[in-house]
């Protein structure tokens, strides 16, 4: 068999793929904020919680960071219905990605909390700051600065992670690529275009995050 590359044939899928890319970004965005919220709660539980809260948070993190997101979604989508809990594929994917990323963000945020040093706080207290001022002017900016690079990094990995949705028939970039392939059999051309779209999406994300970092902290810090 002689395979000839025919990129011309797949140009008609391009608008479709671009729309899919937008959906991928939307999924990443929604899941990211959900995961960040979970991460915040989880990190606070680990940092300030009682014995049992800490145990629960630790168990959550251990379970979701030590198993693949793909299998977690398989479980949510195929196994939970047997207990009467039914989700659409998009719901299952969003829940899966969010819970999975929430575990990792818990760890990231916890390390940010740990980076606040006692003596900085003492110094601020000596300067006569109230508890609230301390949090507002010292702790939050410090944590934000420390955490911005790893969190941006995580966001970019999450953009790539949304490709898992395609496995469940969601019409994101990956899903549309799979559909288009079923129709046209131009797999390599399609996947190459898709790969480039993912590269473009993450570069876009990197640039936006760098701009945000520049605005907030006055220096470019994100690493990917």
């Amino acid at each position: 068999m002689q395979y000839t590359f025919q990129f011309g044939q797949i140009t008609r899928y391009l608008p479709d793929l671009l729309a899919g890319a937008l959906i991928s970004l939307e999924i990443a965005f929604v899941c990211f904020w959900g995961a960040l919220l979970i991460g915040l709660l989880g990190a606070m539980a680990l940092h300030f919680g009682g014995v049992w809260t800490r145990r629960v948070a630790r168990a959550y993190v251990a379970c979701f960071t030590n198993t693949p997101g793909l299998v977690q979604i398989y479980f949510i989508y195929f196994a939970l219905p047997e207990f009467g809990i039914l989700f659409s594929s998009l719901q299952a994917v969003i829940i899966g990605i969010t819970l999975n990323a929430g575990g990792y963000l818990t760890l990231i945020l916890k390390s940010g909390f740990l980076s606040v040093h006692r003596n900085e706080l003492d110094a601020a207290e000596v300067m006569g700051m109230s508890r609230l001022q301390l949090v507002r002017y010292i702790i939050v900016p410090h944590i934000a600065r420390v955490l911005f690079p790893p969190i941006s990094n995580k966001f970019i990995l999450m953009v790539l992670g949304t490709a898992v949705a395609g496995v469940f028939g969601v019409e994101d970039l990956m899903g549309r690529t799979i559909n288009a392939n079923a129709e046209s059999f131009r797999a390599i051309e399609l996947l190459s275009v898709t790969a480039c779209l993912y590269v473009a999406m993450t570069i876009l994300a990197t640039l936006v995050l760098a701009a945000v970092s520049l605005l907030c902290f006055g220096r470019r810090r994100s690493s990917i």
């Binding site: 068999m1 395979y3 251990a62 379970c63 960071t65 030590n66 198993t67 693949p68 997101g69 793909l70 299998v71 977690q72 398989y74 479980f75 195929f78 196994a79 047997e82 207990f83 009467g84 970019i156 790539l160 992670g161 490709a163 898992v164 395609g166 496995v167 990956m174 690529t177 797999a187 390599i188 996947l191 190459s192 898709t194 790969a195 993912y198 590269v199 993450t202 570069i203 990917i224």
Partner: protein
């Protein structure tokens, strides 16, 4: 539901299924270790190219950079599928396991290259100066002075990457490579309930990954204070 689970359990937890799952787990471990080790090797080669100086290596340097940037920004699933369809083009009979291993090695190479590069840049630049004034060549400086100091910086993030990578190998199931996740699909298609099949897959991944994660945390603790950089 619970009744059905109880009913099915004896049929599920059989010697035969156990061996099947253990073999699949072995394949997952092999994909992870193989991909990560090969990725470390090729990643190191890319870094050696990238850290060269002078016009002579301009093109290889740019290619190495492009490779790393590209494969860090493409989902592993896309790389796996690309490798799968590309392997259909060559008329050789390659196993799905090998296809998955090669694809995952590409991914690991890109990420490891970045980790190794950061480690090398973490070594104080005056070490390069010293070596240069003593007429050390580029490779000799790298191998005898820089890398022996960089590995302490490289190891913790490399291990963290390895842990993430174990979970990325799950996507190999989409090609039909028999590894842990695919084994779960096989079991459901044999009529076992998804709760038991995917549940046990999750447990097995956990059994693989959790001890590694603990070891990684210990490793980081060990290396952090003693690193004299």
């Amino acid at each position: 539901m619970w009744a059905r689970l109880a009913d099915e359990a004896p049929r599920f937890f059989t010697y035969y299924n156990g061996i099947f799952l253990l073999q699949a787990m072995g394949a997952t471990l092999l994909l992870s270790l193989g991909g990560c080790l090969a990725g470390s090797f090729f990643g190191l080669l890319l870094v050696l190219l990238r850290k060269t100086k002078g016009a002579l290596f301009l093109v290889p340097r740019a290619l190495a950079w492009g490779f790393v940037e590209f494969f860090r920004r493409v989902p592993p699933l896309v790389v796996l599928l690309l490798a799968f369809f590309a392997s259909n083009l060559v008329k050789m009979d390659v196993s799905l396991f090998l296809v998955a291993l090669v694809a995952l090695t590409f991914v690991a190479t890109a990420f490891m290259a970045e980790i190794i590069r950061a480690g090398i840049e973490g070594v104080h630049p005056n070490q390069w100066d010293s070596a240069a004034t003593m007429n050390f060549g580029y490779l000799r400086t790298m191998l005898t002075i820089i890398l022996p100091q960089a590995w302490k910086i490289i190891l913790p993030p490399a291990f963290s990457f390895f842990l993430l990578f174990v979970k990325d190998t799950a996507f190999a199931s989409q090609l039909g490579t028999l590894e842990l996740t695919y084994a779960g699909k096989v079991l459901t298609s044999r009529g076992f309930t998804a709760v038991l099949s995917y549940g046990s897959i999750l447990v097995l991944y956990f059994a693989l990954s959790y001890p590694l994660a603990r070891f990684g945390a210990w490793l980081e603790d060990r290396l952090a204070p003693s690193g004299n950089h």
